[in-house]
Each structure stands twice: as structure tokens, then as C-alpha cells.
Amino acid sequence: MSVHVTPLVRVQAEDFDVGAETALLCQGRTDIGAIVAFTGLCRDEGGKLAALELEHYPGMAEAEISRICKQASARWPLSGLSVIHRHGKICPGGNIVLVIAASTHRQAAFEAASFIMDFLKTRAPFWKKEWMKDGTAGNWVDAKEVDDMASERWET
């Protein structure tokens, strides 16, 4: 039941379009029954945030995302997989990350997308710095214990 997919992995400053990326993944396919597209966006933190600045480790970011995709492909029968992670300054309302998982059945697509997001949070070398509207120098966002717990739940 293991389907070999070549995940599309991109780390870029440019924005992405969920519609175009979904279309790309499905192009000419008639065997896909379910697509789950997760988009992570920059929140304004109650109006206080001016922008998030995303630093990344070029090369390792792509490599680590590819490793996470490989684990997901081994675990669920996927027909397609795309992950795009942005870096640089992103304003509230802007896109940060896109994960698209396609499968014959919906449960695999939901679980794979959720799994990839959990591991992106805890394994992919990206760091967020907050720039506030009041001009104060940005603080680096702390890693969340809840994210570690989210990735640990897949170990059972």
C-alpha cells in the first residue's frame, strides 16, 4: 500500500497560492480522493505585532523538511505531498507555511498533514523574531512545550 511520492519541498521568501499549488499537485491525476491543505499564517497578537521575521538555516531547512515528508510517506499511503515554508519578514495576515497532502482516502491526508506540521514546528530549522508596532526591538519567539507534546503523540 506504500505509494512512492516525490514530495515538492520549497523554502522561499515569496508568497504562495494554495489554489495554484493544489492544482499543481493534482495535475492530470484521477486517483486522488482527498486533499488536505494546511496554511499557517502570521497572527497580529491582538494588534501588537508589526511583523514576524523568519530566519532559517539554508540547506538544512530543505533537507529536514524532506526527511519529515519521507517519514509521512512511509507512514501513510500518499499520492502527493507539497511543503512550502517562507522566510524573511512576514506581516500579520501573511502566509508562513503550506502543507498539502493528497491521498486516496481522507484520513491519511488529514493525519499526514497534521504530522508534518507537528514535526515542522519542532524539527525544521526556522526561528521567528517578533517586531512590534510600538517599535521595540523584536524578541525571539520561545519554543512551545505544547508543540513538543504534539510531535510526541505520533510516537505511539
Partner: protein
């Protein structure tokens, strides 16, 4: 050996990368971290909470207990906050 730093580790050390000759007696990643902290107060400050510092050898996460080996590039950074 190429060393690279990210996020507040980079800011505290004051540079993003450097080439460094490592002493011969470093066996593990933990040994490396201990030696790094002796290189000056900016390194001491950056790596103070040694347990939270993540290390990657040639772009792969490793535990502090791992043997260092002979990587081309060693990266030091705080826990990731992407996604």
C-alpha cells in the same frame, strides 16, 4: 571546521559563521559545547543554557551525547520555532 550560528545564538556570539580549528581531544558534541564556552564571554553567554542548545552536524540534528566525527559544518541554534 566551519561553525554556523542561528537566531539568538548568532546574535549573542555576534557573527553567523566562522572557521575554527578544534582541539584534538574533543570526542562528543557535549565536549565541543564545553570547549566553545571557553572561547570568550560572548560564547559563554550564547551557550550558557547548554541543554537547550541544538547542534546539527552537516545539517542533521544530533544529540549532545553523539560522537563528533569529522563533519564539514557544525551548526548551533536554539529550539526551532518555525511552522
Amino acid at each position: 571546521m566551519r561553525l554556523v550560528y542561528f537566531s539568538w545564538v548568532r546574535e549573542k556570539i555576534g557573527k553567523g559563521e566562522e572557521d575554527v580549528e578544534l582541539p584534538d581531544d574533543i570526542e562528543t558534541v557535549r565536549d565541543l559545547l564545553s570547549w566553545m564556552k571557553t572561547r570568550g564571554e560572548e560564547y559563554e553567554a550564547a551557550l550558557e543554557h547548554q541543554d537547550v542548545i541544538r547542534v546539527a552536524l552537516d545539517m542533521e540534528h544530533v544529540l549532545h551525547s553523539e560522537k563528533l566525527g569529522t563533519p564539514h559544518e557544525i551548526a548551533f541554534f536554539p529550539p526551532m520555532t518555525g511552522g
